[in-house]
Each structure stands twice: as structure tokens, then as C-alpha cells.
Symmetry: C2
């Protein structure tokens, strides 16, 4: 049977596949920082070359930002569009990394071998699981069991500014029967998952300005307004005592999860204590009285991502700063309207400004939550294929993160998405010492080989 | 009359005196930043050489931090100890400077000539007014009208860690009849001032830690505690709706200013609208119902000097930070006890911490407020000498800033201090584009020449 031969080939080729991934990880393709523009370009070139080596007609496609990589296979069968992203998060604070984030390696750990480096999990390691599965099919069978196209983005970690225009301009070329997205995680180490609910994301930055310049706190302390104090007051008011977000209208469109779905989730036996314990925490924060898994998958949030104002270097400086700024994001669920929430948030901030403080808002993206239609039989086929590879049966789950691409594939291309990934929650994505388990990589490749086979039937 | 000859000499020597100051300003003696350690040393050497050139037996004296400069004149008369500091504030944000902060120059402005550069006012320009007055006396008269010693510090902008041990170790050598301190300002452009009340200063830094590493706000948003949010809540609670500081016991030892002193202050005609207008503000902040001048001189405050947490670079990063930190200072008046307030503040912060957030405190100095005894006739002599130089009579005033040295001179050396300076409130000390009016420098030198004469009588 050809699937067995493909799986054997994957096992034999694992060292070479790992080397290819390490090569891609060495390219510091940080999309949000303009200093790494040429590196993003280099990562795109590397992928074009690699896709061509497995018979995909791939090209680098310019955008106003970082390039897209688009490629088409010539095989017959169901048309699948695979999506992944080759850009990575910044690496600060660099001093907390135990190795150069762009000098990746396979490390031995008590929990097994891991591939360590920025992007090892998010999303270079994940996207390469699919590429390697195709490579193995091709090596063994001479062709893929389906017609596969690739669409690899370089701006996912910086709000995907070029994505919508590109999809709109290339609607016909990118149309497919189904999208496959590899940027999510397993439910746990033994239980693979197909993510069918994703939270949306609204990103806002606010810059409060008070005095026209930094002031001496002796000369002006007491009578000059302080933008850090004003900012703290705004931030402190964004949640009530029950942990609910206070932005007016915020909960419009947030439906309760049906009882039967909640029951399924409870059956997964999510261990909040262990989940939090791995990052040094003991107590679920968030809304009072909500189940922790439910909080992550099905409740909206308001999060503080960054804050800066005044003197923050070594020592002390008795300055009253002219400016203070914060980056704030909202995770959205159900039918919450990101643009209405943005408007309401900004109005709330304006209302809270004391005399002599002005505010400037920067827009860092807005995408609604996504829900997949799991009545498509492809979902059940993929779930069974995944279950064949892993110790436990695959589950349909929610996810706290946001992958707006799924929403755009639906609204712009008219195509449903299936989100399957092999990340573990301790992968430290977006953090120092990011890693991808070698097992995730290996069995991830095998999983895709099985799914390609299943979807072709 | 020799004073007239000294004043003429000062007028003739002004270009050379300005050149000497520019030379000192070129040395980037930022005391808080270890990168500038050798520059602090260089500034001390420069001052030793300059003092020797006017007959002062000066030496550089090592400390655990930056060196002190101590020098003694051999003339007869009342023993005066002059204090100034040769270290300067950091220069960030550098992009807001219109010239290199350490490439100073005399610039023409609509309001007259100014000496522009870091330290031009605080405190190199000010300390050189006294040095130049001595130089002129010596050039004309061959001697000074009093016995003058110098004590110049290099750590004033970084909390003066070596000051108390140095004073204690050199109590006999530094003893004098009166200290003269040049680190304060005029009341306004026409009215010179002797500062007789100084606020104290308590500096605190708090570092809140939540998760053991930065987290992805998708995976953890909602159930992981956020240290920025906890910090904002603490900061927002430090003031009540009336602008009063809420730290328990904070107002213990804060006396109301006597009615007659308040009446004197009102007679000065402080123009709060203009004072705030110069820095882009319109409305006095601070405690409801307090007179603005009174707020600056005689009321304690709590100020936010810096805040930092999470991702603060370009673009956006959906991170839940492990850590958030703030630098907070308290200006103190009357008999407020800095150490009791520190203890109370820290206990208040501890009480407000949510589950899973820990705090670390860093001590950035603590000094009580100072009050001078103006019944010493030297104060009235100096006030008359100043009044002879400037368009309006000199005033005894308060000051919002803190110069703990005056308190230490009293408690360790047993010597009273007289604080006289020529800074204007638009000098942008501690800010970009710091300047010192050439008039402040010129008439400041002349003022000290007159005061030396008056105190000798």
C-alpha cells in the first residue's frame, strides 16, 4: 500500500528534513521590524527553491510589504490550498534566550528531542511538516494524491497588511476546494486536534501626550499632568471587579457555548493547574466563574501587550514624561464586530482623558472570530487520519489564538479551511527559547501524509 | 571701590568665562550610566585644574562611585563652603535634541543669547558662576574677600550614594561657617531668589512578575494574569479623586504653610497660566483647591517617572509579558518621614497584588524636606546683594525640587546652607535642549561677586 511506503520514506528522510528546517530557521525573517526586510525576502526565496525541488511551480510574488510565495502542483484530484507563514516574531528580550534564536539546533531535553530556535514552531516548523509530506509522496509515488497549491505569507506576525489585497487580486488563481492551514496546536501530547473555532483579534496602540516636553518632577511635580498616571487610570478601568471588559457594547454578539459542546470540552479533561503551572502560575485569571478552557476558547478578552513611558533605563531620573503609550489587544469571539469595538474603545478612552492630555490611536489590525463548518465530510476524514497516527483520537477544538486568514479564505475566496497543527503549549512561541518537538515535526509530516491520502479518497 | 573693579573685570572676561564653561560642557559626565564613568572622572580632573588656576588647593578624591573635587583657598575671613555638582542627567530621548547635547554652543534666540547643551544649567553653568566670581576677585584684588572651600560632587543626578560616607569621613575638613549652594533658580526673569524651603525625595522602583516567561496572548489570554494590568491598577490607586496621595500615613508631618508666608507668596504674583503654558499645558493638576505655587513649594506629591512592560518596539506583538516595572518618586515636605512612607507604600503595593503576581522593590534614595533658618543675618546680607544686581528685589522662596545636600550639611557638618541660583524655569533641565541664559551666567557671576563682598563685611 502506497501510504505505508510514504510513511517509511518519511521515517528514513527525517534527518534530511530536519536539516532543511534548520536551514530555513537560520534566516531571521522578523516581519514587524524593517531591519529584517531582506531576510524576509531571503526566506521567501528559500521556499520557492524548496517547493520547486518537489515539483511545485512556485514563484515569489511582490506585495507592498513582504513577498508571498505561491506555487501550484500539476497533479490531479481534489484541489487543496495549503497556507503557512514564513515570518517570525521578534526575539526580545534577547538576554533570556539560552542560544542565539537564529542559530537553531536539535537539543536533547528530559522530555525528548526538540528543535530550538525562533520560528521552530511558529510557523516554519509547522509549514515544513506539510512540505515534507508532499516531498515523501512524490518520492515514493511520483505524484501527490491531490492537486496541491501553496500560499505562504511573510506578514502574519505583523498584521498581514498585504493579505486581503493579494487575495482579492488573485482570487481566481488561489481558489480551491478546501484550504489546509498548519498554524495551530494539538490538544495535548497524545491528542491531535482540528481547530474549528478561532478567536478574532483587534490591535490598538494609544499614545497619550501631556506636557510638550519632559519636565523635571521637582519643578513641575504636583501641577503638571502626568501621562503615565492618566494611562494607568485608563488601563485599570478596562476590566471590572469580575474580570469583565468594560468597553461599552463589548459583549454584543458573544453567545454562550451550547451545553453539549461545553460537555465535550469538559470530557477532554483539560488540566488548568498543569497548563498554568508550566508558566509559573497557579490561579486562572479572567472572568469570575468561567471554566478555564471555556475562557480560552470561547470568551473575549482585553490584554495589555506593552507599555512605555518616561525614563526606563538604569538608575533613576526624576522626570515627568511628555508621553506614555500602550499596546492593547482584544481577543474576540462569536459575532463580535471588531470595528464597532474599536470605535467604542476609542470613545471610552477619549472620555477618560484628563485636561491637557491628548491621545493618538494606531490601528494594529482587526479580524472577527472564525467558525468552521464541520458538516463537510473532509473534516471527519481528516479526523480519522489523524487518529490513526496518534495515541488518542483527534478532537474538534477551539483555540484562543487568531488566524484571520481562515476568515478571509471564506469571505474572499469562498473556500472553507481546515486547521491542523502539531504545536504543544510549552513551545514558547512569541517567547524566548521557542522550540518544536522533534516528535511534532516527525509525526506531523506523517499526519499530513495520511490526511492527503484520506482527502483523496 | 574694589567691588566695582571686580564687576568690570567680570564683564570684560565674559567671553573667556563662556569658553571655559563650553569646555566643561563637552565632557559627557552622565553619572547614572556606567558607560560614562571615565567622562565623570575627566570632568573632575578639569575642575581640579581650573580651581588650581585660581589659587585653590584642589584635589580629586576617590569614592566608591564618581570622585569628589575638594579645594581650599588660603584667604582670611568667614569660611564659606561652596557646593555644586559636575555630573549631568542622561540625554534621552536623543532624537528630540536640536544639537548634539555634548557639542554646546552659544545660540541666538528671540529671548536673547543662550548657552545650549546638557548641563548648561544643571549644574555646570551654575557652579561656574561661583568659580568665575572667585577668579575675578582674585584677578583684581589678588585675594578673595572670604576663606572659600569647594566641594563638587559627581553623583547628584544618580542619588548621591557616596555623599554621606564622604561627608562623615571628612567632617573636620569640610566644616565651615556657611555653605553656599548654586543649584536653584530665580523666581522669575527679574526677581532673584534665595531658596529657603526644599522638598524631600523618595525614589522607588517596583518590578511586578507574573508568568515565568512571556506568553502568547492567544494561547493564554484570559486565564493568565497580566503584570501590566496589575501595575496599572496599583498606579491608578495612588491618588484619590481629589488628587491626594492614598499611601496610608502619607500626610503625617505635612503642616499647613502659615498664613503670612502664603500671603508673601501670593504677592509674588506667580502666573500659573504662563508657567504651564510654556510646556503646553493649561490646567494646574494636583490636589483640588490648592493654590498652584503652594502646590509646587509646600505640598507633597507622588509622580510616575517611568514605566515599561511587554513589547514596546515598532509594530505589534501579541504577548502577555512576564514582567512590568515602574519608577515612582515622592516629593516630600515638612516633617514627612521618607522611610516610613517607603514602608507604607511597599505594604500598600503588596496588599494590592493579585494572585500569582510577585513584586521586587528597588530603593532609589530617600531624603526629607529642608528648611533654612533665615534669622542668620547672612541671609539678609545676601538678599540685599542680589537685589543690587537685578531689576527686582530678591525673595525668600520655596522650591519643588530636592537638594538633599542641604540637609546633610546641617546634620553631618552642622552647617547651614544658603541656596542661590540663576536658572530660569524654561531651561529644560533633565530634558532635551537644556540651556542656560547667557544673562543668567553673566549676572550670576556678578551676583556671587557681590555676595562674597557682602558676606565678608
Amino acid at each position: 500500500m502506497s501510504l505505508d511506503a510514504v510513511l517509511r520514506r518519511i521515517d528514513e528522510d527525517l534527518p534530511a528534513a530536519t536539516d532543511r528546517l534548520l536551514h530555513l530557521l537560520r534566516i531571521p525573517s522578523i516581519s514587524t521590524d524593517p531591519a529584517y526586510r531582506s531576510d524576509c525576502d531571503r526566506a521567501a526565496d528559500w521556499l520557492v527553491d524548496d517547493l520547486r525541488s518537489i515539483g511545485i511551480d512556485a514563484t515569489k510574488r511582490p506585495t507592498a510589504g513582504h513577498p508571498m510565495v505561491v506555487g501550484h502542483g500539476s497533479d490531479a484530484g481534489r484541489h487543496l490550498l495549503f497556507y503557512g507563514h514564513y515570518d517570525v516574531q521578534p526575539v526580545d528580550p534577547l538576554n533570556l534566550w539560552e542560544r542565539d534564536p537564529f542559530d537553531p539546533a536539535v537539543e536533547e531535553t528530559p522530555a525528548g528531542q526538540v528543535i530550538r530556535g525562533r520560528g521552530a514552531s511558529d510557523d516554519k516548523g509547522q509549514l515544513m511538516t506539510f512540505v515534507e509530506a508532499c516531498r515523501a509522496w512524490r518520492a515514493v509515488q511520483g505524484s501527490l494524491p491531490a492537486r496541491v497549491s501553496f500560499f505562504l505569507e511573510g506578514e502574519e506576525e505583523s498584521g498581514s497588511p498585504s493579505l486581503v489585497p493579494f487575495l482579492e487580486a488573485n482570487r481566481d488563481e488561489l481558489g480551491a476546494d478546501l484550504c489546509l492551514i498548519c498554524d495551530t496546536g494539538m490538544f495535548d501530547r497524545e491528542t491531535p486536534a482540528i481547530t474549528t473555532m478561532l478567536r478574532g483579534l483587534l490591535g490598538e496602540e494609544l499614545i497619550l501626550t501631556g506636557p510638550s516636553r519632559d519636565l523635571h518632577s521637582g519643578a513641575y511635580g504636583g501641577i503638571a499632568v502626568n501621562p503615565i498616571r492618566a494611562l494607568a487610570r485608563i488601563i485599570a478601568s478596562l476590566h471590572d471587579d469580575q474580570g469583565r471588559v468594560t468597553v461599552p457594547g463589548f459583549y454584543d454578539g458573544v453567545a454562550e457555548v451550547p451545553d453539549e459542546v461545553q460537555a465535550q470540552w469538559r470530557a477532554l479533561g483539560f488540566d488548568a493547574e498543569r497548563f498554568l503551572g508550566e508558566v509559573g502560575l497557579t490561579t486562572p485569571a479572567g472572568e469570575t466563574g468561567r471554566d478555564p478552557l471555556h475562557t480560552i476558547w470561547a470568551r473575549p478578552t482585553c490584554e495589555l501587550n506593552g507599555i512605555l513611558g518616561g525614563y526606563t533605563g538604569d538608575g533613576f531620573k526624576t522626570v515627568l514624561p511628555s508621553e506614555a503609550r500602550a499596546k492593547i489587544s482584544f481577543r474576540l469571539v462569536g459575532q463580535q464586530d471588531p470595528l464597532k469595538i474599536r470605535q467604542s474603545f476609542r470613545a471610552m478612552v477619549q472620555d477618560m482623558l484628563p485636561s491637557d492630555i491628548s491621545v493618538e490611536f494606531h490601528d494594529h489590525g482587526a479580524s472577527p472570530a472564525s467558525h468552521m463548518d464541520i458538516s463537510d465530510p473532509a473534516f471527519e476524514k481528516a479526523r480519522r487520519a489523524l487518529s490513526d497516527e496518534w495515541p488518542k483520537d483527534a478532537a474538534f477544538i477551539g483555540a484562543g489564538g487568531s488566524i484571520p486568514i481562515a476568515g478571509y479564505f471564506k469571505t474572499i475566496l469562498g473556500v472553507d479551511s481546515m486547521l491542523i497543527g502539531f504545536a504543544q503549549e510549552d513551545n514558547a512561541i512569541h517567547s524566548p527559547n521557542e522550540k518544536y518537538d522533534l516528535e511534532s515535526f516527525h509525526k506531523g509530516i506523517r499526519s499530513w501524509a495520511r490526511i492527503l491520502d484520506a482527502l483523496a479518497r
